[in-house]
């Protein structure tokens, strides 16, 4: 009997619209505990496929009849098998096409704002991994910030919008995901910028992203301005777009702040992190809308699926911006940190161009949540 596939895009729409879904996740218990599809209106049952080989009778009684059922596994093979077995028992269930790999790679473009002279700002939400990328479009030109490995999505999107990508930025050398910045720059002839202090091990040509750098997009000089804000890494740089948006990279998130330890120098960088958050950002306008490079939990999404909030609100609400005692702050960002992202050292090497794993291995390296923040 044939069963139906549900695409990552369809699942993303359900998550963003808070629609009900029941997920039967048939990966092993550790994989499920480590990382799963998150959503406000999702119910879960985790039963590994290898416990269902004799039959699915025992889970059938636990499945609801009033919401869609989706069977999920790592790559899709086992979920198809389990969905077929359910179908034979008379239970209608779909499987996630491409499994958690496809979920990890899906990007949902969300328009976050209008810019001067008809410009637009888009946020690309990678729901499966919590990564956020950006595209600024103005008068037929575009800039991309913190692009993920799936370069074609950005290239296709720019083409659809009739824009030529001229500038590609990474706010810092990423440790949780493989950057698509270099590939986009190579495909378009755009300039690829990296903060030099993060790029000491980089083996390819790049342009220096330094404090005060100003880049104009389109004829009307829509401006992107770089603001040095170290702490997550020593080179971490933020951007102010059109005097209205603040792209914070991995320094400041909606409900958490960046962790300083992923390049192995937590003790050295904690002072920089504090200065960026408690001094440099304090000097910026409270009206700026913060657009981070990650979210951690689905509650950080706004109703339209975007991740954005006024800087002034974050100063009031974000715990990490409200720790007056410096020692307490130091302890929070250097002790009891969550586990480091999967394969983070190899990911850093890949982003420096030191190693070039094939596509399949790059996919494996990125499995799991991003874990760039501390709360």
């Amino acid at each position: 009997m044939t069963v139906t596939a549900m695409t990552a895009s369809e699942v993303a729409k359900k998550v963003v619209n808070d629609q009900p879904l029941f997920i039967l996740d048939v990966r092993n218990g550790d994989a499920f505990a480590d990382w799963k599809i998150e959503g406000g209106n999702i119910q879960y049952l985790n039963t590994p496929y290898f416990d269902l080989l004799d039959g699915v009778e025992e889970v059938v009684s636990e499945l609801p009849t009033d919401r869609d059922i989706l069977v999920v596994c790592a790559k899709e093979g086992s979920s198809i098998m389990v969905a077929e077995m359910l179908s034979e028992e008379g239970v209608q269930a779909a499987y996630l096409q491409g499994g958690m790999k496809a979920w990890s790679e899906h990007l949902e473009p969300v328009k976050v704002g209008e810019l001067s002279n008809g410009g637009e700002l888009y946020q690309f939400v990678r729901l499966g991994k919590g990564c956020l990328s950006y595209m600024v479009i103005s008068e037929g030109e575009a800039a991309v910030v913190d692009a993920t490995r799936m370069a074609n999505i950005f290239l296709d999107f720019a083409q659809e919008k009739g824009a030529t990508i001229k500038h590609v930025f990474d706010t810092h050398l990423h440790a949780d995901h493989i950057s698509g910045g270099r590939a986009i720059a190579e495909a378009t002839g755009a300039t690829y910028y990296l903060p030099p202090k993060d790029a000491e091990g980089v083996v390819f040509e790049y342009a220096a992203l330094e404090n005060g750098l100003e880049v104009a997009i389109g004829n009307s000089k829509l401006e992107i301005e770089a603001v040095y804000s170290p702490g997550h890494t020593i080179g971490s740089t933020s951007f102010i777009v059109d005097s209205k948006y603040l792209l914070t990279g991995d320094i400041l998130f909606i409900d958490s702040i960046g962790r300083p330890d992923l390049a192995g120098l937590a003790e050295d960088w904690v002072g920089d992190l504090r200065e960026s958050l408690y001094s440099r950002y304090q000097d910026l306008a409270n009206e700026l809308i913060v657009l981070p490079a990650h979210f951690m939990i689905i509650d950080e999404l706004n109703e339209d699926g975007s991740v954005a909030k006024k800087l002034g609100d974050l100063f009031k609400e974000n715990h990490g911006l409200n720790i007056s005692d410096e020692q307490e702050f130091r302890d929070m960002v250097t002790k009891n940190l969550p586990p480091q992202p999967n394969a983070y050292q190899d990911i850093r090497k890949t982003n420096m161009g030191q190693i070039t794993p094939d596509d399949e291995i790059q996919r494996e390296m990125e499995i799991g949540p991003n874990r760039c923040a501390v709360r």
């Binding site: 092993n28 550790d30 496929y49 290898f50 080989l53 790559k75 093979g77 098998m81």
Partner: protein, 75 residues
């Protein structure tokens, strides 16, 4: 390591390595050792979890140029 049986599951995608391992294991006696060769990257975590839930013992595992080898003792 000495194995009583060898199962070649190279080139097979999930769930087949486990399906075949389970079938082979059923035909073996308690205390016998099955050697499994697989190339699926997910096989390791799944075999460990499967062996544990089935009361079998993962004696050892090895990775050699993209081929994983596992030795599981039937419980």
């Amino acid at each position: 390591m000495n194995a009583d049986k060898v199962l070649d599951a190279k080139g097979l995608a999930c769930p087949m390595p486990i399906v075949k391992t389970r079938k082979q294991m059923k035909e073996m006696e308690s205390g016998q050792v099955l050697e499994i060769l697989a190339t699926d990257k997910g096989a390791k975590a799944d075999l460990v979890a499967w062996a544990k839930s089935g009361g079998h013992e993962m004696l050892d595992s090895r990775e050699d140029s993209d081929v994983f080898t596992f030795w599981i003792k039937k419980g």
